[in-house]
Symmetry: C2
Subunit: 329 residues, 2 copies
């Protein structure tokens, strides 16, 4: 019995902030699996800031979108993925899909909730862990500033710094989120970047400077970090949300890159694939922190595929706390 | 018999481009050496862009300026530095000085001309060598773009890349300098940054992109380099001359730092002291290249201490080809 699935296509390349008109939902029929195939019904899909870059560079109008998803195998002629088992895939933005098993990874919902495999146990968790510890060369006890700190990546960055004996400063875009950073996630200092002066806040949070700035947003916070960073400081560049929806007039970059020279500061861009070889180490470490109750996470969930583009846009307007997900009914 | 010396003091902190009024020449008397002391008569002093940063950060009005110099010991009661021998020091911006020997390094003018110890065999040479090979992690055969390429540092960067089997692209501020880059220094491609579009020129010089951008100037050339750099490219930040004389309105930084993310690009600031431990290796390698005729250098020489501030300003207006020096009569 074939499956009726809806999936999201890119209708036009967004200019500036994407709108609903840039996307189109089409209904498709997914055939029963042939030998060696499975059909998966997605339970959750992920929306992530990196997708905005893909829409500029790689995803063309008329193409179906892709992205992280977890779901249940609902029909199987593949020995590795029995009916009723759960898998992680890159086949998000659709309700059902068929697969020959390539790119599917089994996940265990009895170990951690299914949705966490798109969050703290998945790509955002690995991004935080690798960006701070590998790219950012974080050493125990150092002082970290992270922007977009209430997001799925940022909240984990701050908590890892605290677990490792350091100091964590975070910024977010509402007073409510800022309050959560200190009360829920254990940040030492937090501020609202929309109303506070970032350099003043960094000085309040750590008079002696910062060792690592985990960069998620660009703009004035990067300038403040460059001014306040200590000699031999590192700036892993995970994202620059402030710049992603630039169209004709790109946002100017930091005016004080000269700060890097006398302070031997390093800025280094990365995406999560940099840490593919370290996944096992990450899962082990993060899993034990979750089991021991040392780390917390939040999720913001939109219901139904028709809300996917709204959820995606919400990443850039600060709607989410923690990992932004779309749940399928 | 004491020595009459003139030396340059900072009179006021320069705002924007320094003027003659920011400096003051005073006459002083240098006493005959006491036991364990020497008196040195400088033959050449160096002016360098980094001094502009010092005038902003560390050098205050009323202080005598310092900087690289080479000279002859004209009176000595120190066993290590006999009269008639030559030394390198950080006591530039003055005609004579006395010293207890700390910070003096003997140099041999029979091995290489005295002035080269302020240039290719000295700080600028080490800056080029270390910035490219250590900070820039240059690998044999890679493609390098260097701005301010006809300067004391830039011309050496391009030549090292060529010696190591790579491709060198350089920019400079006049058609005459650009012509020298290819005809004298062996660059594969060169352009005048005042009249040409840097991104177009980089594409002409290397259709496949660049691996290293040796950053001396900032501004539009950094943007072009970020766009054209290849995955895992490195940008050692040696200087940003375009920004040094910013006063009230700093020049905006590159608008495309997001390029670093998907390309895993690294920007890393440095100053020459980073390579203090590698001086011996540098001297050996550079010395053999000079001996074998593999590397060329140029000098621009101003005569007399009263020309020192003019020489210094010339660094920012592009007066010099190669190492900028002041010679004392």
């Amino acid at each position: 019995m074939p499956f009726t699935s809806r999936q999201v296509y890119l209708k036009s390349t967004p200019v500036g902030m994407p709108t609903d008109d840039d996307f189109e939902i089409r209904e498709e029929t997914i055939a029963d699996p042939a030998d060696g195939e499975v059909v998966v019904r997605n339970a959750y899909m992920s929306v992530d800031p990196y997708m905005r870059g893909q829409m500029r560079m790689n995803w063309k109008p008329g193409m179906p979108l892709v992205g992280g998803a977890v779901g249940e195998v609902v029909a199987s002629k593949h020995p590795d993925f029995p009916e009723g088992s759960h898998v992680n895939s890159n086949w998000g933005w659709r309700e059902y899909f068929s697969s020959d098993g390539r790119g599917l990874a089994p996940v265990d919902p009895s170990l951690a909730p299914l949705s966490t495999y798109l969050g703290i146990m998945g790509m955002p968790g690995l991004t935080a862990w690798g960006g701070l510890l590998v790219t950012g060369e974080y050493k125990d006890g150092e002082r970290v500033f992270v922007s977009a700190a209430s997001g799925a990546v940022g909240s984990v960055v701050g908590q890892i710094a605290k677990i490792k004996g350091g100091l964590a400063i975070g910024s977010a875009g509402s007073d409510e989120k800022v309050a959560h950073l200190t009360s829920e996630f254990g940040f030492d200092h937090a501020f609202n970047y929309k109303t506070a002066d970032p350099l003043e806040e960094l000085r309040k949070g750590s008079a002696d400077g910062i060792d690592v700035y985990f960069e998620n947003v660009g703009g004035p916070q990067l300038e403040a970090a460059l001014t306040h960073i200590r000699p031999y400081g590192r700036i892993p560049i995970c994202g620059m949300i402030a710049h992603y929806n630039d169209s004709d007039t790109p946002t100017p970059g930091p005016r004080n890159l000269t700060e890097t020279i006398y302070k031997f500061v390093q800025l280094r861009g990365f995406v999560v694939s940099a840490f593919n070889d370290q996944q096992a180490q990450f899962r082990e470490e993060m899993g034990s922190w979750i089991t021991d109750g040392k780390i917390k996470y939040q999720e913001t969930v939109f219901d139904g595929i028709e809300k996917a583009s709204e959820a995606f846009r919400g990443l850039f307007t600060g709607v989410n706390e923690g990992k932004m997900l779309v749940k399928f009914d």
